[in-house]
């Protein structure tokens, strides 16, 4: 059963997108990734509205005090196995917002990040490459 399940998980990635305090640059790039030009549905990636349906939480931006609890709550609402993908320099390490009075830290300070996509903002191709690398990690069974 396990190999079939892994195959299904690799080939069907439903994502939910959360902005934890980004400047919106990364979000716009994520939206472009979902346009017909890049067509991620051909790779089995779909954007879902509900965290209950999602496998991957795509987080953009440094985590602000306001967003912290909501980020944790949305992550807790996802069914196991839930993967976290940090998109953009801010989500990875705070970026330009590092040390701001309203910023708690990066995503990895709060959640286990399974895949990080660097860039300010990363191009859609880089985001797709991030998804591909995440699929490869799921195939190898690396993220818990």
């Amino acid at each position: 059963m396990e190999p079939i399940l892994t195959w299904a998980r690799v080939n069907s990635i439903w994502a939910v997108h959360f902005n934890s305090g980004s400047c919106n640059g990364c979000d716009i790039e994520i939206l472009s990734t979902l346009t017909p030009y890049y067509d991620v549905e051909r790779l089995g990636i779909e954007l879902r509205g509900s965290p209950r349906h999602a496998d991957v939480l795509v987080v953009t931006g440094a985590v602000t005090r306001q967003a912290r609890d909501r980020l944790l709550r949305i992550h807790a609402q996802m069914p196991d196995p839930a993967f976290v993908m940090a998109v953009g320099t801010c989500a990875i390490g705070g970026g330009v917002f590092q040390g701001c009075y309203n910023v708690v830290g990066s995503v990895s300070d709060l959640l286990p990040v399974d895949m990080a996509v660097p860039g300010c903002p990363p191009r859609p191709a880089a985001i797709i490459a991030g998804f591909a690398a995440l699929m490869e990690r799921i195939r190898k069974g690396e993220p818990a």
Binding site: A8, S12, W14, R48, R52, P79
Partner: protein
């Protein structure tokens, strides 16, 4: 006994209709993608989605009734799978047939929508509640005209039994004789499957995922599968009644796929109607149209 089990589990119920549902769902998504100038999902996509959902954790939100929460998806799937036994799937005769099975089939098909609505109203989640409200509102708007549209051929044949209706029409294309009924049936099918333009109940850009917002894992997978099964059965039913019956596997493929192409074209062309627009379309226009159609059938007699 063994025959019945085979009909129940392998063909035409059970395995066959599930696989058929997955394939038709893929075709629907692929066609939409091609019409939008995209490449579209790979052929195994719905199967992979379902398997992944079955393997995922099923979260039960706080405060819902655990029995009902698990029962609704099961009932939805059971209704769809049972309906498969009464329609000429794959071009062979239905596994079971009795006087009035047309009504039973339509009722069983309605079970999925009803269960979706009830499942949504189970939780305290506001998106699920709005979605459930819209699902049930839509159910009450399209169900009656859809039923009447499928009764047109039955009235013309003077029987409530699918087998007899098909035999009495003997391969005539009712589409030519009852065009209004055909249009209403097609649109009813779109409403039943919550496809564009009738997808206000699950409008994922406004109310997250509609009635199924709180469902994950197995429950969601069952609803997903039932949707596919319902697509196949709906296509079979409409093409059997309106497109001159389904006499052979080839006719089944040709007619249902042709119809699928038709509804996919409508789906790709249309944008979402607001729920009040949906209701007024059905009650002001469609139900009147289908009543006129029935009147014509009654007056002209057995056409």
């Amino acid at each position: 006994m063994l025959d019945d089990l085979f009909a129940l589990l392998v063909f035409p119920g059970g395995l066959f209709v599930v696989v058929c549902g997955l394939v038709y769902m893929w075709l629907n998504r692929k066609l939409i993608a091609r019409l939008q100038n995209r490449i579209g999902p790979r052929w195994f996509q719905p199967a992979a989605d379902t398997m992944k959902l079955l393997g995922n954790e099923e979260i039960m939100p706080a405060g819902v009734d655990p029995v009902l929460f698990h029962l609704f998806p099961l009932l939805a799937a059971a209704g769809a799978l049972t309906a498969a036994l009464y329609v000429p799937l794959g071009g062979v005769n239905p596994a079971f047939s009795f006087e009035g099975d047309l009504i039973v089939t339509i009722t069983l098909l309605g079970l999925l929508t009803l269960m979706t609505g009830l499942a949504g109203s189970l939780s305290a989640d506001r998106f699920a509640l709005v979605g459930a409200n819209r699902t049930l509102t839509q159910l009450f708007s399209y169900e009656v005209p859809f039923l009447l549209a499928l009764l047109g051929p039955a009235l013309a044949a003077g029987s409530w039994q699918l087998q007899e209706i098909l035999a009495s029409h003997g391969g005539r294309w009712l589409l030519i004789m009852q065009p209004i009924g055909f249009v209403v049936a097609i649109l009813g099918l779109l409403g039943k499957l919550e496809l564009h333009p009738f997808d206000a109940p699950e409008a994922n850009t406004e109310i997250v995922a509609g009635a199924l917002t709180e469902y994950s894992g197995r429950g969601l997978a069952l609803f997903y599968l039932s949707r596919g099964i319902e697509l196949v059965i709906g296509l079979t039913l409409v093409s059997a009644l309106y497109l001159g019956g389904i006499g052979s596997p080839l006719a089944f493929l040709a007619k249902t796929l042709g119809l699928l192409l038709g509804i996919t074209l409508i789906e790709a062309l249309m944008t979402r109607l607001r729920i009040d627009q949906t209701v007024s379309l059905w009650w002001r226009l469609m139900s009147v149209a289908v009543l006129v159609q029935l009147l014509i059938v009654v007056i002209v007699g057995r056409i």
